[in-house]
C-alpha cells in the first residue's frame, strides 16, 4: 500500500430538457409519455427535403439561464453546428448543437460544502442542442424498436469546469443547477423522465500535483443519489488502479446501480470522429443587448437570496425562512400573501403556511394545485390578526376554503364564527356562570387558577369557541 494521498477532480455536464411546448426546430409537441412515434414530424423522421426552423422560445430560456448564473458571455451571435454520427435514434445522422459559438459562457454557481462553506463552481458554457430519440432493445426478440418522440426536444447542456473535489460537492452543484432551472421555469426537473440528467467527468491525482489525472466519463446518470454513488465507486476504482501501478484509461463508462460499479462503454480510440461543422441549414442567431435585457424580468429571486431576505427584512425564523425559500410553491404563496398584509405579520403567515397549510397539503397527497389563493390566505390571516377569529377557528376556516374560491370573510359571516368580543353578551354569560357556580367562583377569587380555566372553558363551550379569550379574562378579573 502506498502512502500517496489522492484528491478527486470532478466536472459535470448536465443535460436539461427545456419545458417548451414544441421542439427545437419544428412545431411538434414535446409532451412526455405519448405513445411511441406519435409526436414525430417529417423533420424528426429526417424525411428528405425537410429543414429546421429555430424555436425562439429556446433562445429566451437559454438566455435566462445565462443571466441566472451571471454569465460573462451571452452571445450576441451564436451558431449551430452539426455533430455527425450514425445511430438509429438520431435519424438525420447528425445532432444539431453549438460547438464553437455557444449561447452562454463563463457563469458561476455557489454551493455549500459539507463544512458549510460557500464554494464557487464555474460553469464553462451552456449550449443549445437537440435530444435524440430512444432505442428500445428489450421489447422485441429479433430487432430493436425506435421511439422518436423525444427526438428534437430542446436541451441546454451545462458544462462545468472541473471545480468539484468530491461526490458531495458534485451533488450539491447538480442540486443548485436543478434549483435554478426549475425556479426559472425552463425545465420541469423531472429526473425519472430524463428531463434532467448528467455525465460526470472524474479523475484523481496525488495531492499537490498540478496536472489533472486521466479522466473517465460516467454517462447518463439520472438521480442525485446515483451521481454520488457512481462518483465514489469510480474514484475508488481509479485509486486502486493507480496504487497497483496501473493506468486509468480515458474512456466512457456506464454506472450500474444494481451492482454499484462502473464499466467501460467505449475507449477514446474507439470514439467517434464527429466531424463537426457549421450547420448550413441554419443562420447564425443574432441578437442585441436589449433582447438580452428584456429577459431579465423573467429571472426570479433564487432560494438563497430569498432566505436571506426573509430573515433580514421580514424577521422570519431561520429554519422557517429556509423551508419556505426552498419550496417554489410555498414561497410564491408567501410572497404574494405578505404583499397583501395589513395587520398580520410575515411570521404569522409563515406559521400558518408551515403548520396548518402544510398538513392539509400533505393530507391531499400532492393532489392540490394552488388550493388557496394569496387573497384567501391573507384574508384569513387578517381576521386572525384582528382578533376576529381564534387560531383554532382559523384552522377550521382554512379547511373550509381549501380548494374553493370562498373567502374567510364569507365563512365567518355565514357560519357566525366571529369571536364574541361584545362585552355585553360576554358579561351576561359570565354573570350567569358565576351565579350558577358560586363555590368555583370563590375558589377563583382565592387565587385558584384552575378555576379561572374552568370559567374560560365554560364560556368557550357556550360560545362554541368564538369568545375572545383576552376579553373573557379581563371581564373575569374585574368581576
Amino acid at each position: 500500500m502506498s502512502n500517496i494521498q489522492w484528491e478527486t477532480v470532478i466536472g459535470l455536464e448536465i443535460h436539461t430538457q427545456l419545458k417548451t411546448k414544441s421542439k427545437l426546430f419544428a412545431g411538434t409537441s414535446t409532451q412526455y409519455g405519448a405513445s411511441p412515434n406519435s409526436q414525430v414530424s417529417l423533420l424528426e423522421a429526417a424525411v428528405p427535403g425537410t429543414l429546421p426552423v429555430f424555436n425562439e422560445k429556446v433562445l429566451r430560456y437559454a438566455i435566462r439561464f445565462g443571466l441566472a448564473i451571471d454569465a460573462k458571455v451571452i452571445a450576441k451571435e451564436s451558431r449551430f453546428d452539426r455533430k455527425n454520427y450514425f445511430y438509429p435514434d438520431s435519424p438525420k445522422g447528425y445532432q444539431i448543437t453549438q460547438l464553437k459559438h455557444p449561447i452562454v459562457e463563463h457563469g458561476t454557481v455557489i454551493i455549500q460544502t459539507e463544512d458549510g462553506e460557500n464554494k464557487t463552481i464555474r460553469v464553462n458554457r451552456a449550449h443549445i442542442e437537440e435530444d435524440a430519440g430512444k432505442s428500445v432493445h428489450d421489447k422485441y426478440a429479433d430487432y430493436s424498436g425506435i421511439d422518436l418522440n423525444r427526438c428534437g426536444t430542446p436541451l441546454i447542456e451545462i458544462v462545468s469546469e472541473p471545480d468539484m473535489s468530491n461526490a458531495k460537492e458534485a451533488v450539491a452543484y447538480m442540486r443548485e443547477i436543478h434549483t435554478i432551472v426549475t425556479h426559472l421555469g425552463i425545465c420541469d426537473g423531472n429526473m425519472q423522465e430524463g428531463s434532467f440528467r448528467c455525465d460526470a467527468n472524474v479523475s484523481v491525482r496525488p495531492i499537490g500535483q498540478k496536472e489533472l489525472g486521466t479522466r473517465t466519463e460516467l454517462k447518463n446518470i439520472n438521480s442525485f443519489r446515483f451521481v454520488e454513488k457512481a462518483i465514489n465507486v469510480e474514484v475508488k476504482r481509479q485509486i486502486k488502479l493507480l496504487e497497483s501501478g496501473e493506468k486509468v484509461t480515458q474512456e466512457t463508462r456506464l454506472y450500474d446501480s444494481d451492482k454499484n460499479e462502473t464499466r467501460a462503454m467505449r475507449s477514446k480510440e474507439e470514439a467517434n470522429d464527429y466531424r463537426y461543422f457549421p450547420d448550413p441549414d441554419l443562420l447564425p442567431v443574432v441578437i442585441d443587448q436589449s433582447y438580452i435585457d428584456n429577459e431579465r424580468q423573467f429571472i426570479p429571486e433564487f432560494p438563497a437570496a430569498k432566505q436571506a431576505r426573509y430573515i433580514a427584512e421580514l424577521g422570519l425564523k431561520e429554519e422557517d425562512a429556509k423551508i419556505i425559500a426552498n419550496d417554489k410553491e410555498l414561497s410564491g404563496l408567501f410572497d404574494e400573501t405578505i404583499s397583501l398584509q395589513k395587520q398580520s405579520t410575515p411570521q404569522m403567515c409563515a406559521n400558518m403556511l408551515l403548520g396548518e397549510y402544510s398538513s392539509l397539503l400533505k393530507a391531499d397527497d400532492g393532489n392540490s394545485d394552488k388550493p388557496v389563493s394569496s387573497a384567501q390566505f391573507s384574508n384569513l390571516l387578517e381576521n386572525l390578526a384582528a382578533g376576529k377569529i381564534s387560531h383554532k377557528i382559523a384552522k377550521v376556516i382554512l379547511e373550509k376554503i381549501w380548494n374553493t374560491e370562498i373567502s374567510a370573510d364569507e365563512i365567518i359571516e355565514k357560519e357566525s364564527l366571529a369571536q364574541v368580543s361584545d362585552s355585553g353578551e360576554l358579561d351576561q354569560i359570565i354573570k350567569t356562570l358565576v351565579e350558577n357556580n358560586p363555590s368555583q367562583f370563590d375558589e377563583y377569587k382565592q387565587g385558584n387558577m384552575k378555576m379561572f380555566n374552568f370559567f374560560v372553558g365554560q364560556v368557550m363551550k357556550q360560545t362554541k369557541g368564538r369568545a375572545n379569550p383576552a376579553q373573557v379574562k379581563s371581564i373575569l378579573e374585574n368581576f
Binding site: 417529417l42 423522421a45 429526417a46 424525411v47 428528405p48 427535403g49 425537410t50 429543414l51 429546421p52 426552423v53 429555430f54 452539426r82 455527425n84 450514425f86 438509429p88 435519424p91 438525420k92 445522422g93 447528425y94 430493436s144 425506435i146 470522429d273 466531424r275 463537426y276 461543422f277 448550413p280 441549414d281 441554419l282 443562420l283
Partner: protein, 483 residues
C-alpha cells in the same frame, strides 16, 4: 399548332382559343413520343396531371388565372411531390413516395401550372453529364450520342426537345446553367435564398438553389417569378418581397456596364471563344459598355467547391441509412451491416466518392487544412464579385469550356469537375446567374452566362431578353423535334 412560348399559350387559353386540356394533351403526347428515347423522365404523374388540368380550367373560368395557369412542366425528380415518387435519380430512393410537397412544387401548383412528369437527373444532383442517374443517362436532343449536361439534364433535354414549355431544376455548382447551355435553352438560378429549399432533397445546403429552364429569358422570368418567394419553412430563405421578374425585360440595355473576365474567354477553344465574343459584341451593339474586370480568386473556386459541397453532402446524405425509408439491404446481420450494405447498394459511384471526400475533409486533423481553407476562399470569391459589381451591372462569362461531349468521355472525375470551372464561382458567391444560347459549334449549342449582383435577377433577365430580341438562337429546335 405551334406554340410560341408561355405568354402565347397563356393568351390562347385565356381567350378560350384552346383549352387547358388540349395544351396538356399536346405536350403529354410529345412526352410519350420522345421521353423514352431521350430518357429524360423518371416517372409520370398522370393522376396529378388530371387533377391539375381541372384546377387550371377552373381558374381560367373563374378569371383567377396566372400566366402559368395551364402551362405544362416537368419537375426535376428531387422536388418532393406529395403522393408521387421522388427518387433523386438514386436507387436509394427508388421506391420513396414523398409525403409532402416542396414549396417550389406548391408555388407552381397554386399558379395553375400542370405537372406532367418527374425529370431524370444525376443521382442526388451530383454530376455534369447526367450519366450518374440510377435510371440511366439522359440523351441530348441535339445529338443522341452526346450528354445533355447535368445534373438537371432531364429537365434541359425535355425543354430543348419541346416536350414541355418549362421545367424546374436545381443548381449547386452549375446544374441548371451547364445543361441549359449544352441543350441550347435558357436556364436561370436565382440568388441563394430566393427560392425555398424546403422539400428539395439536399445535396449541399449552402449552395443548392432551385431555378427554372425554358426556351427564352421571357419564359424563365414568368416561371421564376412563381417559383421564388420568402418561405418561413426555410431558415436561409431571403426575406424580400415577391418580385415579378418579367416587368424589367423590355428596358433597353443601352449604357449598361457589362463586365468580362479576359482570362476566362481566352481559355476557351477557338470556336467557342468566337461565339462568346460575338454574343458580347451583340450586347455592345445594343449600347452596353463592355468593361474588363478581375476575379482574382476564381481559379481556386473549383477546388474550394469540391471541399465544401462534398462536406455538406456527406452530412446531408447520412439520413439515407435504410432504417425509415429508402433502400434497405437483405438480411442485415446487425446495425452496422445494415448501414454499410444499404448505403453501398443504394448509392452510385459518384455519390459515394463525394461522401468519402466530404467525410475526409471534415475529419479531425483535416478540417483546418480543407474545410476552413475552402470557406476562406469562398469569402475571397464573394469579395471578388463585390468589387467587380462596384464597376459593372452584369458580368458576361462562358458557361462551359466545351459543347456537349460523348458518353463515357470523362472517366477521370477531376476532368468532369472542371466542366464547372465557370459556373462554380457565382455559385459560391450565391449570385443570380443564367445561361442563354448564343449559337452552335459543330451542330451543338453554346451558352453564355450572365451573372448579376445579389437579388438582381431582373437585370440579367433583362439583358438576356434584349439579346434574344435580336437573335434567333433560343428559337433553334434540334432536328426531329419540330412541334
Amino acid at each position: 399548332m405551334k406554340f410560341q412560348g408561355i405568354s402565347h399559350i397563356s393568351e390562347l387559353i385565356k381567350n378560350r382559343e384552346i383549352s387547358v386540356q388540349e395544351v396538356q394533351r399536346h405536350y403529354s403526347e410529345r412526352l410519350s413520343k420522345y421521353a423514352k428515347n431521350l430518357n429524360c423522365v423518371i416517372s409520370f404523374t398522370s393522376d396529378l396531371t388530371t387533377e391539375q388540368v381541372q384546377q387550371a380550367q377552373r381558374m381560367i373560368d373563374e378569371n383567377k388565372a396566372t400566366v402559368l395557369t395551364g402551362i405544362p412542366l416537368v419537375h426535376k425528380d428531387l422536388f418532393c411531390t406529395q403522393g408521387f415518387a421522388t427518387t433523386c435519380g438514386s436507387r436509394m430512393l427508388e421506391n420513396f413516395i414523398a409525403p409532402y410537397n416542396a414549396t417550389v412544387v406548391e408555388n407552381l401548383q397554386s399558379s395553375g401550372a400542370i405537372t406532367l412528369a418527374k425529370a431524370n437527373m444525376d443521382e442526388f444532383a451530383m454530376g455534369s453529364s447526367n450519366e450518374n442517374s440510377y435510371f440511366g443517362a439522359v440523351k441530348n436532343p441535339w445529338n443522341l450520342n452526346k450528354v445533355p449536361g447535368g445534373s438537371s439534364g432531364g429537365s434541359a433535354a425535355a425543354v430543348a426537345a419541346g416536350l414541355v414549355p418549362f421545367a424546374t431544376g436545381t443548381d449547386t455548382g452549375g446544374s441548371i446553367r451547364q445543361p441549359a447551355a449544352l441543350c441550347g435553352i435558357t436556364g436561370i438560378k436565382p440568388t441563394y435564398g430566393r427560392a425555398s429549399r424546403y422539400g428539395m432533397v439536399a445535396f449541399a445546403s449552402s449552395l443548392d438553389q432551385a431555378g427554372v429552364l425554358a426556351k427564352s429569358a421571357e419564359d424563365c422570368a414568368y416561371a421564376l417569378s412563381t417559383v421564388c418567394g420568402f418561405d418561413e419553412k426555410d431558415s436561409t430563405s431571403a426575406q424580400v418581397e415577391k418580385e415579378d421578374f418579367s416587368l424589367n425585360l423590355k428596358k433597353p440595355i443601352k449604357g449598361m456596364k457589362i463586365g468580362i473576365v479576359r482570362d476566362w474567354i481566352d481559355s476557351l477553344s477557338a470556336e467557342i471563344k468566337e461565339k462568346t465574343i460575338q454574343s458580347i459584341s451583340e450586347l455592345e451593339n445594343q449600347g452596353a459598355e463592355i468593361v474588363e474586370i478581375q476575379l482574382p480568386t476564381s481559379h481556386l473556386a473549383v477546388s474550394a467547391y469540391y471541399v465544401i459541397a462534398p462536406a455538406e453532402c456527406s452530412s446531408n446524405l447520412s439520413r439515407f441509412d435504410g432504417i425509415r425509408y429508402g433502400h434497405r439491404c437483405e438480411n442485415p446481420e446487425d446495425i452496422n451491416d445494415l448501414y454499410i450494405r444499404s448505403r453501398t447498394e443504394g448509392f452510385g459511384e459518384e455519390v459515394k466518392r463525394r461522401i468519402m471526400v466530404g467525410t475526409w475533409a471534415l475529419s479531425a486533423g483535416f478540417y483546418d487544412a480543407y474545410y476552413r481553407k475552402a470557406q476562406k476562399i469562398r469569402r475571397l470569391i464573394v469579395n471578388d464579385f463585390a468589387s467587380a459589381f462596384e464597376k459593372v451591372d452584369v458580368i458576361a462569362a462562358p458557361v462551359s469550356p466545351e459543347v456537349a461531349f460523348d458518353f463515357n468521355a470523362k472517366k477521370d472525375p477531376v476532368s468532369m469537375y472542371n466542366e464547372d470551372i465557370f459556373t462554380i464561382p457565382s455559385s459560391l458567391a450565391g449570385l443570380p446567374c443564367l445561361s442563354m444560347p448564343i449559337g452552335l459549334v459543330d451542330g451543338l449549342p453554346v451558352g453564355l452566362q450572365l451573372i448579376g449582383n445579389k437579388l438582381q435577377e431582373s437585370q440579367i433577365l433583362n439583358v438576356a431578353y434584349q439579346y434574344q430580341q435580336n437573335t434567333e438562337f433560343h428559337r433553334l429546335v434540334p432536328e426531329g423535334y419540330d412541334e
